[in-house]
């Protein structure tokens, strides 16, 4: 078994015993990238030289020191191209690190590069990347999910030991489910968004994708905490997340919202979830059906709020300070229009148009204000549920990974694949997706949602489940030719 296939905590043990060096681990990952990434296509930029140089200089064994990882390409990396998988930022080299990147640097994580995504994190399949789609390591004809598809695929394919992503409506959890890895979207405000290229600022959150729940706790520990550079970052103490990994869920109250098991959710996915819930019962948890009655309104509200915020955030890409410029335009207004027309792909244009429309004079009350009111109803559903339950369990996505090109021409069908993840962002609560079984050889994700800043509850439930099922031990069959 090669080093790249191990977890963070397994490698930390080996590093502490001096049985391996950071250079050997980085080399193993880079060889794996060399062997499989031509097929998986998870990376937009591989920083092999810097990685080896960095790994040589590190001792390793303390925390994440010496562990190789990569981040989604919407997180700014000083001196390393950050494209958001968009033509408009194809040559953008940030002058600073995102706070989460700086924290990884400080922890001496070895950066392997930047990972593919849907352009500006808008999408659910990574097919909206302006450069190329990423493939699902479990079946190369299928999508890895999105928008953090490169992050999920790279972890599943053992190209990196862990990855960071961002989640605005499910962009960490849905690809984690499709690729059979663990994906954590922390509470809004738990992790700094400074240096994350903004999509929808009231919904965006940075999180991690890992091979197991223990690694999730370890990485979350490093990236969490107050940041004066992000005014929405919470001034709250970060608990010891590994302390939550007890394997014990006796007496834990688990709510199962029936709206997440309705029409549109694949029958085989539901069956896998039902078995998972029986596992929780067998472990001594109290599992009860409950209701989040406004669930069906979350998706339509999201498709007003997120595009509205995006249309405002993406106004900064104007060909003046950074990014692409159409040099043929001879006045400023034409230059804005033609730069943005050339620089943005179809989904980004669609959302900018939708958001601009929803915010425009005469429509603001009917769409934006209405959606904000609905957002409160969705959040209040969760408040009521968490008065009774410690966590809520649902499928992460209504189906397993779909085929490439299956949904690219059907905008609403693509949007529906986030139906179980979007309410979480509207409410700002944390949720984790963990592998809980398979349908026809493809991974199924279970979503565990928790109270604001209740990440430890999620980890406790997820870890107990993982320890008693052994699902994490399975790997995709990406045989090296």
């Amino acid at each position: 078994m090669s080093l790249c296939s191990l977890t963070v905590h397994e490698l930390v043990t080996l590093l502490q015993r001096r049985e391996v060096s950071p250079l050997e681990i980085a080399t193993s990952c880079l060889q794996r990238i060399e062997a499989v990434d031509a097929r998986v296509r998870a990376f937009l930029t591989v920083t092999a030289e810097q990685a080896l140089e960095h790994a040589r200089a590190i001792e390793g064994g303390r925390g994440l020191a010496g562990i190789p990882a990569a981040v989604k390409d919407n997180l700014c990396t000083r001196g390393v191209r950050t494209t958001c998988a968009s033509r408009i930022l194809e040559n953008f080299v940030p002058p600073y690190d995102a706070t989460v990147v700086a924290r990884l640097v400080q922890a001496q994580v070895v950066s392997l590069g930047k990972l593919n995504m849907d352009e500006f994190a808008m999408g659910s399949s990574t097919e909206n990347s302006a450069f190329f789609p990423t493939r699902n390591p479990w079946d190369l004809e299928r999508v890895p999910g999105g928008s953090s598809g490169g992050s999920a695929a790279a972890v599943a394919a053992d190209e990196v030991i862990f990855a960071l992503g961002s989640d605005t409506g499910g962009s960490i959890r849905q690809p984690a489910a499709f690729c059979g890895v663990v994906g954590m979207k922390p509470t809004y405000g738990r992790v700094s968004r400074f240096g994350l290229v903004a999509f929808a600022s009231s919904l965006d959150q940075v999180g991690c994708l890992t091979k197991d729940v223990t690694d999730c706790a370890m990485v979350l520990q490093v990236i969490s905490g107050f940041d004066p550079m992000d005014s929405t970052s919470a001034r709250m103490e970060v608990p010891d997340y590994t302390a939550a990994l007890t394997g014990e869920v006796k007496g834990m109250k688990i709510g199962v919202p029936r709206e997440y098991f309705g029409e549109g959710v694949d029958g085989a996915v539901k069956e896998v979830l039902q078995r998972a819930l029986q596992q929780f019962e067998a472990l001594g948890a109290v599992v009860e059906e409950t209701s989040l009655p406004h669930t069906e309104y979350a998706l339509p509200a999201y498709y007003i709020l997120a595009p509205a915020e995006a249309s405002s955030n993406l106004a900064r890409f104007d060909g003046v300070r950074y990014g692409l410029r159409d040099e043929t335009a001879d006045n400023l207004l034409d230059m804005y229009g033609s730069t943005r027309a050339r620089g943005f792909g179809p989904e980004v244009k669609r959302r900018i148009m939708l958001g601009t429309y929803a915010l425009s004079s005469g429509y603001y009350d009917a769409y934006y204000l209405k959606a904000m009111r609905v957002r409160r109803l969705v959040k209040e559903d969760f408040d009521r549920a968490f008065a009774r339950y410690d966590v809520l369990v649902t499928p992460t996505a209504p189906t397993v990974a779909f085929r490439l090109n299956e949904k690219v021409d059907d905008v609403l069908a693509m949007y529906m694949s986030d139906i179980a993840t979007i309410p979480v962002n509207l409410a700002g609560i944390p949720a984790v997706s963990i592998p809980c079984g398979f349908v026809q050889g493809l991974p199924v994700g279970m979503q565990v949602m928790g109270r604001p800043f209740g990440e430890a509850d999620l980890l406790r439930a997820a870890y107990a489940f993982e320890q008693h099922t052994g699902i994490r031990a399975l790997k995709p069959g990406l045989e090296v030719a």
């Binding site: 600073y96 249309s311 400023l332 229009g337 609905v374």
Partner: protein, 94 residues
């Protein structure tokens, strides 16, 4: 529903997007389909519900007003498509 051509052109102007004829056509039906889907929010009475813009119970985030070293001008201009004499250069405005 579909958005009229004039509506699409008006929104595109607001968004500073120079769309092709084909894009205008496609967007008028695609945006219409999404707005049809969003219509279902109408079924929900919300007159009494306070809008929720931000999930955390926080209002202003204050910090001490202390001067810090800014980024170097060269660094800030390094990504500019065109710069001149330490400034961003834009096409003529009038």
């Amino acid at each position: 529903m579909t958005l009229s051509r004039q509506e699409v052109e008006h929104v595109a102007m607001l968004a500073r997007l120079k769309l092709s004829e084909e894009e205008k056509e496609r967007l008028s039906s695609e945006l219409g389909a999404i707005l049809d889907y969003v219509e279902r929010l109408e079924a929900l009475p919300t007159a009494e519900v306070e809008p929720l813009a931000h999930v955390l119970p926080m209002h202003n985030a204050f910090r001490p007003d202390e001067p810090r070293a800014p980024f170097a001008r060269d660094e800030m201009l390094a990504n500019a498509p065109q710069a001149l004499d330490g400034l961003f250069k834009v096409p003529r405005i009038l």
